[in-house]
Assembly symmetry: C2
Homo-oligomer: 405 residues x 2
Amino acid sequence: MLDILNSVLNKKKKLAIGLMSGTSLDGIDACLLEIEGNYTDTRINVIDFMTLDYTKEEKERIFKLCHIKTSTVDEICYMNTYLGNKMGQAALAVCQKAGVNIRDVDFISSHGQTIHHMPDQHSTLQIGELSNIAAVTGCVTAGDFRPSDMAYGGQGAPLVPYVDYILFSSKEKGRVLLNLGGIANITVLKAGGSEEDVLAFDTGPANVLIDEIVRIITDGEKAYDEGGKLASQGTIDEQWLDEIILNDKYLFKNPPKSTGREYYTKEFANGLYERGRIRGLSSHDILATVTAYTAKSIQLQLKSFVLNDCKIDELYVSGGGAHNQLIMKLLDQYIDAEVKNVSKLDFSGDAKEAIAFAILGNEFLSGRTNNIPNSTGSDRRVIMGKLALPTNNYIIPTAITLPQK
Amino acid sequence: MLDILNSVLNKKKKLAIGLMSGTSLDGIDACLLEIEGNYTDTRINVIDFMTLDYTKEEKERIFKLCHIKTSTVDEICYMNTYLGNKMGQAALAVCQKAGVNIRDVDFISSHGQTIHHMPDQHSTLQIGELSNIAAVTGCVTAGDFRPSDMAYGGQGAPLVPYVDYILFSSKEKGRVLLNLGGIANITVLKAGGSEEDVLAFDTGPANVLIDEIVRIITDGEKAYDEGGKLASQGTIDEQWLDEIILNDKYLFKNPPKSTGREYYTKEFANGLYERGRIRGLSSHDILATVTAYTAKSIQLQLKSFVLNDCKIDELYVSGGGAHNQLIMKLLDQYIDAEVKNVSKLDFSGDAKEAIAFAILGNEFLSGRTNNIPNSTGSDRRVIMGKLALPTNNYIIPTAITLPQK
């Protein structure tokens, strides 16, 4: 193992692929990048990025795995392998797009697809078998970071703040990094602050509820609200919005905290839709109000947990939700800071999470701790991750067909 | 990572713990041993062995995870962590028993608890989170071997033949190593044969059906037939035994092949019991016949797949079933070879699988391939395993309580 790892780890500049598949179940983000150095000396150069979309059938099957009533051990077992192969294919695809030979890639680092997350019981389940990624690509593969933090009493989330801190902290400006995936999360970087000053937590729902409402009001024709166009046609029911916010207990929990599809379920979205209908709202009004829910919940929690301690100058938004013009407009309206897309930091907002997991993998392979205990609640700094080795650099053609149940 | 691994891997003699928890759901076997060298130069010295039993409740909860109808994602997620912690406790317990400080242990290697195995779809699921084992013990932890073999088209089983070959092959004698866990498996080592000559496969049921029949006939009071005492009080219904054998399609499949609880289900055992009752048999007669099923299926498959090519002088039995006197008597009667307990090779039959997984971990950490493609059906030799790192050598007290559903 030492020989294999030496050949990767003793390089000054490593070619890496970060893989991310979020709770919004869009697909697998793959980012090809160069990484130099560690911790606050980490320097990156993004070469290419792409998303290998999940098909409708894949989404449905993964969705079933995430829910207690529809999940079964055989499907979890099978989809773990299936997604591992597909994640390997995503890595091959981003190389092909960039004209880079996969054999030149030093390592892959994969978040995996979360199918369950139980922060209070320190248990989490990400699938997308690392052994399959290693076999399909012939690359050293790191991944499965969250369980390590949880083993030391952490919530296994959020993990990106470590990367936000080492890449984006500023001596002069107070910054918030906001990622709008299925769930919304923030990293607060105090001007001139240390790692111990980093505060980060999931603020609540983002696309997870918006997408579900879109599916309901378009009869399943659309999976998401492109650019926030549908929501922008509606009017926010401010009174109902306040009611929604007040009824969401998660928003009033003290950080560190994290959440997921276990809390913001399909039934949760259905309930919102039904309530909107009872209030006599149009489909667009319901969607506008649920979209505002995301922005409002962020405003509320910045006020409750952040602004007393820390001045915020800039708020940088990344993730799929950064394309939603209504969310961006509302954030600008609700929050007293410059609201910008993270691309303003020369950093692709879509690629941000995939880049983050490549960096977490780089730290893991370097034997470095890569969590922030303040953010996750763990009792110490932890070397998060697992490692799988390829057998050799010969790529096998792996069929990734999806057999019927 | 290199520093951490160097400190383990550059030692001539390593102190290791192998952890095994089989399909019979008895508990977690933990073997503390010294390992020197690699491959056919591997030398071991067993220091201590113990089994940390599963409680009745733990068994029931794991059992539910193994079955499609009763499995749910939250329980799989939670029990993965729970069992990881318990496996860590088993490692601590065997050290305590031996009077060895866990901080002197160089690595742990864990098989995990199989909750599903789909050989034809190259998917398998072992739980018992490696990150938790590493956290509880503060040791470098290897494990989760089967998915790697499957990623290269293998069945992920059997894996012990690699270890049987490097430890037990003989220039003069043809040997069969038979392990009687939940499932029975054999390794055939031709006299003077090479690794390529090794033939190994699961022969079918062992304790998985016997234990279930015992549960039925004792109304759940007993979980297994100690020493085969209950079965020895019955008479084998030879005609029915032939019928059972002829109806078991698995026995007639060509190797490489593997099987599990997915095939030899609770319903399978119930069906046997009902059929025995219809034939007017006593409880003891039914148990005797089902016990003979194991021995007879081994005889049949040695005839069909082994004896044409290879003379067998000795058959060494290990695993829980080696304590069943009726099975041992029947094997002696059915098979034309010396039938002995594997302890005759100065090797504890109970500890054999735990030892085997410690050796597989040693090969993995050495960056060596550790499967036999002939046995698993994979398209090449594979470096099987995954690695999790401890954060430091300080052991946290991890509560392993089992909350109610």
